[in-house]
């Protein structure tokens, strides 16, 4: 099997490090990375910022954001498609990651504005004065000026990066530990994760949550001290970063699912009690997967929201997490490229149809408007997918590819 510590004899063993050998053994990974690189390069060359100016900056951003969606969908696929935990909370982790990075972006940019304005004052500003001026700027909309304790590290990019990983990781850890420990499984677990998401969203909606309530964090597309760099260039940077993160995420998750660990979690998905009877610590495996995927989701969110420019609590509501499940299910769960495909396909179509760019279809007596009917169609398609094509879009590959063991995508 594909255990990394004990490489089986084969043609891949003779050269290269373990990763290279792994990739050669699983060519789908090479395919994926190759296509991703090609896609990124293509967009870059055609983009406004670097190359031929055939693709607008907003479209580049859309592609960048889609890559982030693909990454979070990968995480969802690992936790749901491979481990059988239908989490309705992973988009909340995605949002949390966005909030964490957004805090730094907002703080740092406001600090620059305040310090620049303060340079003309008669006395040089004290630290307190700078802090309170930033506080007034940021929290004025919710009628405050004091920094809540959760902003303690907002001045430092690196600490805040750490929080992108720690906060969702810790939340997922505590929640998962509580839930798995008491053997909450299946739909109950789904409902519980949904409740967690709702609790988080309701908390963020409050004005005194310390994260500007309803208003959320805004202006995130402006990178501090890089104001002079045009958005067309910044968008390309983020596209690269997103593509890099997606590639890295793909390889990481691929490594996991192709290892012995991957076999265990698949076994947990198929029959949890049996795995437990075999002596595995099922809870620990599940908790690891849950926390890891939460962190991947958070990283995806941290890359997404600087491209989106704004984050507010509505992004964290349970419905967003359910859509995430829809993407993965439509793409075909239990295969990594399926999740990526589903997220890319459905989210791009959604933004196409709800953005009002798609032409309306005139049906004689009724003007068919995509904005109105897209969600109805999506809902129905989704029901049909669940009923008749449980393998989703990824299942199409099975028609062409030679017969293989399922879940080995």
């Amino acid at each position: 099997m594909t255990d990394l510590t004990m490489p089986t004899p084969g043609p891949g063993n003779e050269f290269g490090g373990p990763l290279t050998r792994f990739l050669i053994r699983h060519p789908s990974g090479i395919w994926f990375l190759g296509l991703l690189a090609l896609f990124t390069l293509g967009i870059t060359v055609l983009s406004e910022g670097f190359g031929l100016d055939l693709i607008s900056t907003s479209l580049v951003k859309t592609f960048g954001k889609t890559l982030c969606f693909c990454l979070v969908a990968l995480a969802m696929d690992l936790v749901w498609g491979y481990c059988g935990i239908l989490s309705l909370g992973h988009f909340a982790f995605f949002g949390l990651g966005g909030y964490m990075i957004g805090m730094w972006l907002m703080y740092a940019r406001t600090e620059i504005i305040v310090v620049t304005a303060g340079a003309y004052a008669a006395l040089p500003m004290t630290k307190d004065e700078i802090d309170s001026a930033i506080g007034t700027q940021i929290f004025g909309v919710v009628g405050g000026s004091e920094f809540p304790a959760i902003w303690t590290f907002a001045h430092s990019l690196w600490l805040q990066f750490l929080l992108v990983i720690l906060v969702p990781g810790l939340l997922a850890g505590v929640f998962g530990w509580l839930a798995f420990r008491s053997r909450v499984t299946d739909i109950y677990l789904s409902i519980l994760t949904q409740a967690m998401t709702l609790a988080l969203a309701l908390y963020l909606f409050q004005n005194d949550s310390g994260l500007r309530g309803n208003n959320g964090l805004s202006g995130l597309q402006n990178l501090p001290s890089l104001e002079s760099t045009p958005q067309s260039v910044v968008s390309i940077w983020f596209l690269w970063a997103s593509a890099f993160a997606l590639g890295l995420g793909y390889i990481t998750i691929k490594l996991i699912v192709e290892s012995k660990f991957g076999n265990v979690i698949r076994a947990i998905r198929d029959d949890e009690s049996r795995v437990r009877f075999l002596g595995y610590n099922v809870e620990a495996y599940k908790l690891f997967v849950f926390v890891l995927t939460a962190i991947i989701a958070a990283i995806a969110g941290a890359l997404y929201y600087p491209q989106a420019g704004i984050i507010n609590p509505a992004e964290v509501t349970p419905i967003a997490s359910i859509y995430l499940a829809v993407w993965v299910a439509m793409g075909g769960r239990g295969r990594l490229y399926g999740a990526v495909l589903g997220a890319a396909f459905v989210s791009l179509l959604s933004s196409l149809f709800t953005g009002g760019q798609a032409p309306n279809i005139s049906l004689g007596i009724y003007e068919f408007q995509w904005v109105d009917w897209w969600l109805v169609l999506l809902g129905i398609t989704f029901v049909a997918t669940t009923l008749y094509a449980p393998n989703g879009l990824g299942g199409l590959f099975d028609l062409f590819a030679p017969k293989r063991r399922s879940g080995d995508g």
Partner: protein
């Protein structure tokens, strides 16, 4: 036509015939013939007598002398007396020295006036300004006139006038009103109004009573009262003002001695030690912080003023020289410490006033005794009122608890209604239906559509209930046939598929009904609230929802446990193959059960729509709570759903009562509580036992 001679002695009804009318009749009446007036209406003569007798007193009125005159005017029984007093008060009363008569004057142009005789109503046009003089009452007299006028209004024959003037006194009570009210009570005949008079008299006695004994006894009479007015009148009497002195003064009604930064107010108005725990739990602060106490000293010029940061910075800027100030470079002044040091060095060189240090503040504050004294000087009165207020507060607390309990029960019944349909589809059949919320929404919209066709609200609600049930029953059956049937024993797929249905239905509702909220109007008999007292009340809609949930619960329990259909449902749920071999058609039972659960959701939708706005997202707001209710209560058991709804409703209201302004936080904490609760009771409050639990 009313006989003029009888006007003064008539019943209130006849008098109501209109004061206006009488006034206009009056000119004619008096000028016609004074001698035809019967003895009962001798008042104009009496009135004119008063005016003639007291001419000088009115002309140069003062508070000391005017009392008897006003009394005489009030008792004259003359109908124009009120108008006379009113004109007098508003400085429209004039007199002519040549014949000692009073007039109401209006300017014709700048030089001439039109005069109306105060007694006869005769008009004289074109009188020069020099002939007449204005009566100018001073403010004291005007106040007396005010009460005299009030007396007139309070004894008016028109009930609405009396009631209105009563209200105006209630809004803006003055000490002089007390005697007026006491006079008026005697003559009040309307029982309701009399009750109000008595209540107002007691409230005014509290505030303005002369003898402390009567105030004390009145205060005691209010013990335990829940009336908002009473509390509003009692509290101001206990207002204190903070003062300070070297030694505690003897002539004050002392409420408490304040130790700045250390004490806070106890329930009985005395001082009590302040602890950090107080702040932690109630965010209570010391009554007087050290710097507040110092500010008080500064205000009374008992201590030198503090130099605050702005003043310090301004002084620094003012004394800048060659980029330096107080021995520091300007660029160094980027911390409080350096700025303070720079200022101190300025102060040492005598350029600015000395700073006040923390030690100075402590010393200055420590050399005085701070105290809070009641504005009310009578200690017995404040004690009696404090006792009354405490007893009122105790009964208010008790009633608030009662109100909270009612709120909790009503919230619980709403959750129960939203979840009861789910208790069947999810709880009994183990089918997770994410579109349940949309069935609630469909029920509410059915009600709205019915109301478009049936204008009578009562009738429309009666029609809407079966319509909503039918619509959602059909939708439920369709969903079961088309989707869920294929997914039995694949719960996660069911969840996803029904979620797809939920997205589609929500958007469909949006397309049909638009995004704005549609009203579902309750019939009039459900308007308003059941008011128990000033604290406890509950709206009739909530009472109705409570009734409805009881009805649903018993109906459902009866259906599941006492009917053939219920028996078959339970059989199919427990073992479909065994049930089938007993001649039960599991397909049919599943379909009908699912339809029943959905239909109940539809009726719940009408109830919820009556008090919440009907939008396409109505279901969204309830779906998570509904699932929580069923899971917490224990799946497979409608008693469990009842317990779950009760627990969630009561809990949410309890958390809300800690911080009423923040219902979002309450929901957040409640969900966290549920997540923790499930740790200890993973199968819910009313877990099934035995073999059924594993099904």
């Amino acid at each position: 036509m009313m006989k003029p001679g009888k006007a003064a002695g008539l019943s209130p009804v006849a008098l109501e015939f209109s004061m206006l009318r009488i006034a206009s009749l009056f000119c004619a009446l008096v000028s016609l013939a004074l001698w035809t007036i019967s003895p009962a209406n001798a008042s104009p003569e009496k009135f004119s007598e008063i005016l003639t007798r007291d001419f000088k007193l009115i002309q140069h009125s003062s508070v000391k002398t005017i009392g008897p005159v006003l009394e005489a005017i009030q008792q004259s029984g003359f109908d124009g007396a009120a108008e006379f007093l009113g004109k007098w008060q508003t400085k429209e009363l004039w007199f002519r020295e040549q014949d000692d008569r009073f007039f109401y004057a209006t300017t014709e142009d700048k030089k001439t006036y039109e005069l109306i005789d105060a007694i006869t109503g005769e008009t004289t046009a074109g009188v020069g300004k020099r002939e007449i003089k204005q009566v100018k009452p001073n403010s004291g007299v005007r106040r007396l006139l005010d009460s005299a006028l009030l007396q007139f209004r309070l004894t008016s024959s028109d009930t609405s006038v009396r009631s209105a003037s009563l209200d105006s006194i209630e809004r803006d009570a003055k000490p002089e009103h007390l005697s007026v009210i006491r006079n008026a009570i005697k003559d009040e005949i309307d029982p309701d109004l009399r009750q109000q008079f008595i209540q107002l008299e007691r409230l005014l006695t509290l505030q303005f009573g002369q003898a402390s004994q009567e105030r004390i006894s009145t205060a005691k009479g209010f013990a335990g009262s829940l009336d908002l007015d009473v509390r509003a009148k009692l509290n101001p009497i206990l207002q204190t003002s903070v003062g300070f002195a070297k030694a505690l003064p003897r002539d004050i009604n002392l409420a408490r001695v304040i130790v700045p930064g250390k004490t806070t107010i106890a329930n009985d108005g005395s001082a009590t030690g302040f602890s950090v725990l107080d702040w932690w739990f109630t965010e209570q602060k010391p009554e007087l912080e050290l710097n507040e106490a110092y500010a008080l000293l500064v205000k009374e010029k008992a201590a030198p003023a503090l130099i605050d940061r702005q003043q310090r910075d301004a002084a620094l800027i003012a004394h800048m020289k060659d980029g330096r100030v107080g021995g520091y470079e300007i660029s160094e002044l980027n911390s409080e410490k350096v700025r303070d040091a720079a200022y101190s060095s300025l102060a040492r060189s005598g350029k600015v006033s000395q700073t006040v240090t923390d030690a100075n503040i402590k010393e200055a504050v420590g050399s005085y005794i701070f105290y809070a004294a009641y504005n009310e000087p009578d200690a017995e009165v404040t004690t009696a009122i404090r006792e009354t207020l405490n007893s009122i507060n105790a009964s208010v607390r008790w009633n608030k608890f009662l109100d909270l309990a009612l709120d909790a029960i009503s919230l619980a019944s709403i959750y129960f209604l939203a979840a009861i349909g789910l208790a069947i589809t999810f709880g009994v059949m183990r089918v997770i239906n994410m579109a349940h919320g949309e069935f609630i929404m469909m029920g509410a919209y059915s009600g709205y559509v019915v109301q478009q066709f049936v204008p009578n609200y009562t009738a429309s609600i009666i029609v809407a209930v079966p319509v909503a049930f039918t619509v959602t029953f059909a939708a439920g059956v369709a969903l079961e046939r088309l989707v869920i049937r294929h997914l039995y024993n694949r719960p996660l797929e069911t969840l996803l598929a029904t979620f797809g249905v939920s997205i589609a239905l929500q958007q469909l509702a949006k397309n049909i009904f638009g995004t704005q909220a549609r009203p579902l109007t309750a019939p009039e008999w459900l308007d308003g609230a059941l008011v128990v007292n000033d604290v406890v009340s509950i709206s009739w809609i909530r009472v109705a929802i409570f009734g409805l949930s009881i009805l649903f619960f018993t109906g459902l329990w009866w259906t599941l446990n006492k009917t053939r259909f219920g028996l078959e449902t339970r059989a199919v749920v427990q073992n479909p193959r065994m049930a089938a071999s007993m001649g039960i058609n599991p397909d049919k039972i599943n379909m009908l059960t699912f339809g029943l659960g959905s239909g109940i959701a539809g009726i719940a939708g009408i109830a919820i729509g009556l008090y919440a706005k009907v939008t396409s997202e109505l279901g969204n707001d309830y779906i998570v709570q509904s699932f929580m209710t069923v899971v917490i209560g224990g799946v497979g058991n409608i008693w469990g759903t009842l317990a779950g709804a009760g627990l969630i409703g009561i809990l949410q209201k309890l958390i809300e009562s800690v911080n009423p302004s923040n219902t979002l936080a309450a929901q957040t904490y409640m969900i966290i509580f549920i997540i923790i609760f499930i740790q200890f009771k993973p199968r819910g409050l009313m877990a099934l036992k035995g073999r059924a639990a594993e099904a």
